[in-house]
């Protein structure tokens, strides 16, 4: 440790550029977003700031009376509630397979399973749009081989969100797979040996050793995934534009349209803050549940 005045200045000097960037381009905008959400900032205010009026909590109250906001929130909750378990389930299954003693070509399989994670969402969403095309998509063609008639995947309000959920699970499961795999590798082998001597079946070993030992890692993974999935945007933007019948409008998609299409920046800021609160509530709830089970 350096002592004295020069040292302190050095510390600040080294931290300053990054801190300045974070302050100017993140900290201040977040504070400004809160202020903005309490005003009627719109196209007129964008042209001339003198048109700006404070409106208190009106934006929030009005949002709570807007059916499309509730629809967007409902769609997003649907995406999170179905997408997170599906994604993590896939991740866990893949991690268990890779961890199994019987697995061959591990590095090769791991790389293949992880590949979708590093791809560009927009590009692979475009691919999926064609794969799930009603009349010439490969998926419907394959289903046709087993006698299932074509499904209008992205054009039917019942199927559009499930298709996006499937897409997200495909795109993201590799990420958590790697984290869970590291978690599996950290479980002491002796625990399994002891269980085998006691004659515990594989399923019981999984239930009574693997899952509890993996608990803390699963909790971290769940928190990261839930907060990430609430930020659904690019998928509906590219695959459905929020349609059919607004069945894939997510909260962020709604915010984007409100803010950058209609220029209701005050209202859009309120949407952003409500989403933040929802994410905070959901992740806090998860952590509480985890704590009660003694995972943290």
């Amino acid at each position: 440790m350096i002592a004295g005045h020069a040292a302190r200045i050095a510390g600040w000097m080294f931290a300053a550029p990054a801190l300045l960037v974070l302050l100017v381009f993140f900290g201040l905008p977040v504070a400004a977003a809160l202020a903005l959400s309490l005003t009627d900032f719109d196209l007129y205010a964008l042209a001339d700031v003198r048109n700006l009026r404070p409106v208190g909590l009106d934006n929030y109250l009005e949002l709570l009376r807007t059916p499309l906001f509730w629809k967007a929130l409902g769609n997003t909750v649907y995406f999170v509630a179905a997408g997170v378990p599906l994604s993590i389930g896939l991740s866990l299954a893949a991690a268990l397979l890779l961890h199994a003693k019987a697995a061959r070509f591990r590095p090769l399989f791991r790389t293949a399973l992880f590949a979708p994670v590093v791809t560009t969402v927009v590009a692979v969403a475009v691919i999926w749009r064609y794969l799930f095309h009603t009349s010439y998509g490969l998926v419907n063609w394959a289903l046709g081989l087993v006698g299932i008639s074509p499904v209008d995947w992205l054009g039917d309000p019942r199927w559009a969100m499930p298709t996006i959920i499937l897409f997200a699970a495909w795109k993201n499961f590799g990420y958590n797979m790697v984290i869970l795999l590291a978690g599996l590798q950290a479980i002491p082998e002796e625990l399994y040996e002891a269980a085998r001597i006691d004659g515990a079946s594989r399923w019981r070993q999984f239930l009574h050793i693997t899952l509890p030992q993996l608990g803390p890692v699963l909790l971290v993974v769940a928190v990261i995934t839930v907060s990430g999935y609430f930020q659904l945007f690019a998928e509906p933007y590219v695959m459905t534009r929020g349609d059919p019948l607004q069945s894939t409008v997510s909260v962020l998609y709604f915010m984007y349209e409100e803010g950058f299409r209609w220029w209701n920046l005050g209202r859009a800021s309120a949407v952003a803050f409500l989403l933040f609160l929802v994410i905070l509530a959901a992740t806090t709830l998860l952590l509480r549940l985890g704590r009660r089970r003694g995972l943290v």
């Binding site: 931290a15 791809t119 495909w170 790697v178 952003a272």
Partner: protein, 280 residues
């Protein structure tokens, strides 16, 4: 368990486990392979029924069309330039800050670091609306700087470097100071070389994130000439919706660079992912 039965079970297990892995891996790669295949098909071939898996007579027409008739070349250069600028500059800023938080004592350091970690719970999108207004004030809407500036530092990057830098022995830095080396020289000549592994990790992470980023570039870049590849591809897919083969060529151009980078530096990327997930 008798020996023969055990061996039989073992073989069955190898078959089941690897079979399942093969199915999963195929499902992961199939869409990407299909993209590659269709990008070489002549126009209209992919819309036939039944859909062909491989091009009958492979052609580069789609790539030619993509680069001659659309702005793809421009977008590719934009993406590359923006991602490289973000990676190089943020690497320097995050390394300096991470080192300071790990090894230099300054007033308010620990409180500040806790504040940074707490800021991780705020989704980036909350900042985007005022950020747009700020960029408009600064005259940076529809400029490369508008995309690059907000990405010049990240809490994740600072955190990653700090975790790694804590293992640098204080005696080493102290000895350099006694020898009369200035703080800048210590940082560039002693600390940076020691941080090399974590910097490679962070560089891969940052480059991939910058290349794949969509929402902020979509907001701040309003003119085609500045579009990055994802923004350009999203716009293209609206215009050329029926042109499957052309779109797949566009997807290949967007995805292949990051896939190659990942394949080359996979080890570093996975390390960063594991370190980063500790942050919770």
């Amino acid at each position: 368990m008798s020996g023969a039965r055990g061996a039989g079970q073992g073989r069955l297990q190898v078959l089941l486990v690897n079979g399942a892995l093969l199915v999963l891996a195929s499902a992961s790669l199939a869409p990407l392979l299909w993209m590659l295949s269709v990008s070489f098909m002549p126009m209209g071939e992919a819309s036939r029924f039944p859909p062909p898996l491989l091009p009958e007579s492979p052609t580069l027409d789609n790539y030619r069309e993509l680069f001659m008739r659309t702005d793809a070349a421009r977008s590719f250069a934009n993406s590359l330039g923006v991602s490289l600028a973000v990676t190089l500059l943020s690497l320097l800023f995050n390394a300096m800050a991470g080192y300071a938080f790990a090894k230099l004592r300054f007033p308010g350091r620990d409180g500040l670091f806790r504040l940074l970690l707490a800021a991780l719970v705020v989704p980036a999108q909350v900042a985007m609306l005022p950020l747009f207004l700020l960029m408009k004030q600064l005259g940076l809407v529809n400029t490369y700087a508008g995309v690059v500036l907000p990405a010049l530092a990240s809490v994740f990057g600072i955190f990653l470097v700090r975790q790694y830098a804590r293992s640098i022995p204080d005696e080493l830095l102290e000895a350099a100071r006694i020898d009369g080396a200035g703080e800048l020289r210590i940082f560039f000549q002693i600390v940076l070389p020691l941080l090399r592994p974590v910097l490679v990790t962070l560089a891969v992470f940052t480059f991939l994130a910058a290349w794949n980023d969509f929402m902020w570039p979509l907001i701040v870049l309003t003119g085609q000439e500045h579009y990055t590849l994802p923004v350009s591809l999203a716009a293209l897919s609206r215009e050329h919706i029926m042109d499957v083969e052309l779109m797949m060529a566009g997807a290949v151009v967007t995805v292949v660079p990051v896939l190659l980078l990942f394949l080359l530096l996979q080890r570093y990327y996975i390390q960063g992912l594991l370190l980063g997930s500790v942050k919770g």
